[in-house]
Structure formats: C-alpha cells, structure tokens
C-alpha cells in the first residue's frame, strides 16, 4: 500500500513539474510576443489548391445548408472544367458543421491548419459565423459567408456575399411603405438575426410613420403558433414581417392559414423563405405572400438560366435554386476573380485585389466593395405563386451599395 502511494505521489509531482514548466514558458513568451500567430498559408505546392466547404450536413440546419454545399460543389466543378484557378484545379474539402456552433469553429481551424485551404466557404446562422470569425481573424484566413444576415459586422477576413440589411430588409420595408402599409406585426425565431433585424425595423418604422403593433419570438424549432397567429388576427396589422427560420416557418404558415388569415388582407413579408422552403411548406399556404431576396429561381438573366439548368442537371429536375445557394455559387467565382487579379493565393494579396471586382451573377451584376467586403446587390421583392414559384414584383433597379452599419440612414443612428 505505502509503496504504491509513494509512486502515485511521485507521478503527481512529475505531472505538476511538467505543468509548471510549460506554464512558465507560456508566461514568458506571452509577455514578449502577442502577435506570434503565423498567418495561415495555403498549400499550393501541388497541382491543386484546396478550399474548405463548411456547412451543416447533419442536425437541424442541414435542411438549408446541404443545398448550399451542393451549390458550392457545382461552382467548383464548373471552375475546374474551365481550367481551374491560376492553372490549379480546386480540390474541395467538405466538413460538417453539424448545426453545432463550436463545431464550426473547430472545423474551420481544422480546414486552415490541417488541410491548409486557400479559402473557406460556408456558415449559415449568425451564431456559426460569430464562432468562426475569431478563428479566421486569428489565422488571417478567408471565409466567404453566403447568407443574408443582420449586418453590423465587417470582419477583415470575411467576405459577405449574401445581403446585409440595407439590401434586403430596408427595401422590403420601402416596398411595404409604398403599398401603404402602416401597421406591422413582427414575428421571428428567438435568435440574433430576427432580434437585430426587428430593432432596425422598429427604428425604420418610427422614422417613416409606421407603427409596430407587436413583436413576438419563438424558440428555434418550436412549432406551436396558435397564440401568435391569434394575436396577429386580433391586432389586425396591415402586414406581418416574418424573420422566422427553419422548421418553425412551416408551422407558422400552416397555422396562419388555419385561422383564416390571407395574403389579400394580411400579407406577410418573409426574409428567410426561399424556393426550397416554399416547396416544403406547400403553395396552398403561401400563395400570394411576399418575400424579399436578391435572387429567385425565376430571375430573368441569361446567367441564371445557365445556373438553374446546370444545377438541375447535376442534382435533379425537381431541385430548386435559391438565394443563399446563388450567393454561395457566386462567392466561389468572386474568389476566383480576386485570386486571378492578385495573381496569388496569398490572403492579403487577395484581399487587396478584392475592391471593385465584378461578376455577372445569376442575380445580375454584383460588385465587391473592398471597404467592408460586402457586395453590391440588387434587391428584389417576390410574390409566391399558386405553384410555389416566386416571381419578382419589384426590384431596386440597380445594385444597392452595401452598408452593413447603416451609416447612410439617419434613423439608424442610435442602433449601433
């Protein structure tokens, strides 16, 4: 007994010594060097260049993110077919974010330090982006984020190819205002995008003579909407602004119709329902309702016809394309253009080359704004038809310059 406990004590002591030694080393260098982090270097020595695709392939977000991954793969395939980037074929490395935000950070780090990717494409929820942001900044590596989001962010190592608020939400509000809607009911999932978006909507409403009659949130995944649709019915708003996401949307629409609410009397403006979601909800519930995006499957550009045809050829006739998928598709081409302009895969050189890059995208011409690394996009309001397709009823005419912090809007002064 005593011999063994001596041995254990000795081992504990050994462990403690090692710990203290290492701790001491850490302390020393920590004091002297705060910026020892080496910039991520892409491995471009071979005939290929790796890029990371980081999307949730399992868990609740897989519903949306799998299609983004498919779209990214299509872009990679097309670029490779036309000779690659700087003469190198792109080799995509796909990782599963698993709808779990720390996993996004972990996989981002893995793509950067193990796979040595030149850039990473992906992320969907704000939470996943916020988790990845420090990883990319710390490693000085690039992320292309393809989803509309709540704005108020401009990381030097992220390119935002989805809409920021002034390219989606504000045009949607402008449209409702133009239609003479005075009272709004806000309903959203309980997370960052809806809460932030609704704050902006309230500020906009106040400045534009509109009233917000109520603001309601549901935990993500919750499907019990009786109380909310009942509140909408009794408060009789001119329009509903819907920032729900995921499964909750299906439940909301089914229950919205079940109490007799209709597009004709109480239209709903949604910012998270694209063709894929519309298909899952069912046109019988959505017919006549409004959505705000920058792209629809029906958007009438020659590029879009090619894109839709290519996507269907690869994944099936019944597969729709949507705004985030298009933004993801575009992001790969934008990166290619930046790299070719820079003549290098080096992150800083690519960033330096970004400003003013244009691409003739399925959604129309897009231009990268180097100052905030967002892109100028055309806003489009769409109406859902009886067959579930979305047709454009209004667009902004020209691409809207990105303004993630809403600096050009007086009413938004108090927001951030």
């Amino acid at each position: 007994m005593s011999r063994q406990s001596t041995r254990r004590t000795a081992l504990t002591a050994l462990a403690a010594t090692v710990a203290l030694t290492l701790a001491a080393c850490g302390a020393k260098s920590g004091e002297t060097s705060t910026a020892t982090t080496a910039a991520a270097t892409a491995d471009t020595t071979g005939g290929t260049v790796k890029v990371g695709l980081l999307n949730s392939l399992s868990g609740t977000m897989a519903i949306s993110e799998v299609t983004v991954r498919d779209s990214l793969l299509l872009a990679v395939e097309q670029i490779n077919a036309s000779g690659g980037v700087l003469g190198k074929k792109i080799e995509p490395v796909s990782e599963d974010g698993a709808s779990d935000w720390p996993t996004f950070a972990e996989k981002a780090q893995k793509l950067i330090s193990v796979d040595k990717v030149a850039a990473t494409f992906g992320g969907w929820t704000s939470a996943s982006r916020k988790q990845m942001l420090p990883v990319f900044e710390k490693n000085k590596a690039l992320l292309f984020y393809p989803v509309q989001y709540e704005g108020l962010e401009a990381s030097p190592y992220i390119f935002y190819t989805g809409a920021t608020t002034n390219q989606q939400i504000i045009p949607a509000l402008d449209y409702l205002k133009g239609e003479g809607k005075k009272t709004l009911f806000l309903v959203g999932s309980d997370y960052v995008f809806p809460r932030t978006a609704n704050k902006e909507i309230r500020a906009y409403a106040e400045a534009n003579g509109m009233t917000v009659v109520d603001e309601q949130y549901k935990p993500l995944g919750n499907t019990e909407f009786s109380a909310i649709v009942d509140k909408i019915k009794s408060s009789k708003p001119d329009a509903v602004f819907n920032t729900l996401n995921g499964d909750s949307n299906v439940a909301f629409w089914k229950q919205y119709k079940s109490v007799g609410l209709e597009a004709a009397t109480t239209p709903v403006m949604s910012v998270s329902i694209a063709e894929e979601e519309a298909k899952a909800i069912g046109p019988q519930y959505l017919s006549g309702q409004l959505v705000a995006w920058n792209y629809y499957m029906t958007t009438d550009t020659p590029k879009n016809k090619e894109f839709v045809a290519a996507y269907k050829a690869k994944y099936g006739e019944d597969k729709p394309t949507s705004d985030p998928m298009e933004a993801a598709y575009v992001s790969v081409f934008l990166w290619k253009a930046m790299v070719e302009k820079a003549g290098s895969f080096d992150v800083e050189k690519v960033k330096a080359a970004a400003d003013g890059i244009t691409f003739d995208a399925p959604e129309g011409l897009v231009t990268v704004d180097g100052s905030n690394q967002h892109i100028a996009k055309t806003a489009r309001i769409g109406k859902i038809g009886d067959d579930g397709t979305i047709t454009e009823v209004w667009n902004s005419g020209k691409p809207i310059e990105p303004d993630p912090f809403l600096k050009t809007y007086d009413w938004a002064a108090g927001l951030s």
């Binding site: 519903i63 499907t223 019990e224 949307n249 079940s258 899952a280």
Partner: protein
C-alpha cells in the same frame, strides 16, 4: 371573447401534447422504457403521410388512410426496436434511454438519406386548412381534427386497456411480471404488443402533426422533452394523469405565452413542472402500493 380564444389555444396545445405523450404512457409508463426515439416514431408517422400521398392523391382520403397505416408503420418500427434491442434492457430502464438516444440519431440520419435533408410537403385537405367560426371565435379546423384524434386515441386506449383481455394481460404483466408469467400469460408477447401499440400511437401523432408543422428528419426532437414531462407529471402509466397534465401544461403554456412571450413561457412551464414534481414526486395520479421504495 379574448379569454375564450386563449382557452381554446390552451386546449389546442394540450391536445398536441396529449397525442405525442400518449404512446409514452404505454412504453414508459407501463414498460419502463425511456424511449428517446419516440420523436422519430412520430417522424415515421409523418413521413407515412408523405409517402401515401404519392399513391392516394386525394388529400383528405390520404390523411384518413394514413392514420391506421402510420399506426402500423410506427408500431412495426417500435416492434423491431423492442425485439432487437430493448427486450434485453427491461431490468435497466436508464440504459433504454441511452440506447434509444443512439437510435434516434441513427433514425434521423436514415430519414435524411431516404427522404433528403429538406422538409417535405404534404397536402392537407381543403376542409382542414380553414377555420370554423363560432360566434366571434375562430376555431381552426386542423386543431379540431387533432383534438378529435386525441379524444379517439385516448378513448380507444382506455377501452383496450380496461375492457379487453389483452388490456388485462398488459396490466397484469405490469403489476407483477412473475406472477403473470406463472399464471400462463406469455409475457414476452404481451411486451411486444404493448410496445407495438405505444409506438403506433406515436405514428398517429405524426400524422396529426403534418397539419401543424414541418415534416422533416428532426421534427421529433422538439416534442420529446414535453412529452416526457406530461407523462411524469401525470403519474407514470396513468392515462387519466397524462390527459389532465397535457391540458394543464398546454393551458399554462398558452396563457403564459400571451403574457410573457413564448421563450419565457416555455422556461416558466418547465420550472412549474419541476416544482410540481417536487410537490408530487409520483405525479398527479398514483397507484399506491405498499411495496418498499
């Protein structure tokens, strides 16, 4: 009038809770299996509607046909679980929780591979998408339908348990397995039947839920905690307990949601149930015995 609407909302919540929890009254309450894959049995029921609509194109007919078919589909799935895995775990109830958790992961991924990750759309018959106006009260037809399904399911289960020989056998096995076995009751077969019915009820719930929410791989996960709380708070194995608690929790949830919003309401409901269990650890209705512990 607002009060009446809120009450009906509460009843609507309660009916859904009751439907998703009813199967657990059998599998958890009577058999002590903590089936975390119950949500995936619900999912199987919902996908049954989706598949059936490829064959039976009339939305109304397909929904009505789906009720018995989903009962059988989910029931068979549950039966397979019972025969392959759970039967060896009856003396380890907590382990059934872990095994079925693993099963639920696998079943969700299987649904993703079979049907694709995106949600699926099912058509609801026109007569179930609108509302019935009673005075100033708007009663959604889908809610009334779900309420009816819940009432029929509870009634059917009660009759089955009390008035049939199968029900008597189930209760006998639950109350004293050894005695039942020595009295010539084939306990293994009774176990399988019980699990089949409990799982089948989850399938029925899945059909009903297609009228309310999404049909997708992870649809079951959002109901599982609520369902277990209903059964625990109601008194394990007691149908009347599940009925009362489902409506009490539903009502509480609805009324709180009108006051403080959905997120806080949900938290308050959870806390209330936890406090209730503190007060009555055996649930609302208990079968009192003199047995130790």
């Amino acid at each position: 009038m607002a009060v009446l609407t809120q009450l009906f909302t509460g009843i609507s919540f309660g009916a859904v809770l009751l439907l998703v929890a009813l199967g657990l009254v059998l599998t958890f309450g009577q058999m002590n299996v903590i089936n975390m894959a119950h949500g995936e049995l619900i999912m199987a029921g919902a996908y049954t509607v989706y598949m059936l609509q490829k064959v039976v194109t009339s939305a109304g007919a397909s929904l009505l046909v789906a009720l018995p078919v989903a009962f059988v589909v989910s029931g068979l799935l549950g039966l397979a679980m019972e025969m392959l895995l759970l039967r060896r775990l009856y003396h380890r109830p907590l382990d059934t929780l872990l095994v079925t958790w693993g099963l639920s992961l696998v079943l969700q991924q299987a649904a993703r591979d079979l049907f694709g990750a995106p949600n699926k759309q099912t058509a609801a018959p026109e007569w179930l998408t609108g509302a019935v106006e009673v005075g100033a009260l708007t009663l959604p037809a889908s809610r009334l339908f779900i309420l009816a399904v819940a009432v029929v399911a509870v009634g059917g289960l009660s009759v089955a348990l009390t008035a049939t020989s199968l029900g008597r056998r189930i209760r006998a096995v639950v109350q004293n397995r050894n005695l039942a076995a020595t009295s010539g009751i084939p306990t293994a077969r009774v176990d399988r039947t019980t699990f089949f019915i409990g799982s089948g009820l989850a399938g029925v719930a899945g059909v009903a839920l297609t009228l309310l929410g999404a049909i997708g791989p992870s649809m079951g996960t959002s109901y599982i905690v609520d369902a277990f709380l209903v059964v625990v708070a109601g008194g394990v194995g007691r149908i009347q307990g599940a009925v009362v608690m489902a409506f009490v929790i539903g009502m509480l949830n609805a009324l709180l949601e009108y006051q403080v919003g959905a997120s806080v309401a949900k938290v308050l409901v959870f806390v209330a149930v936890v406090l209730f269990i503190q007060w009555r650890p055996q649930g609302l209705f208990t079968l009192r015995t003199r047995s130790l512990a």
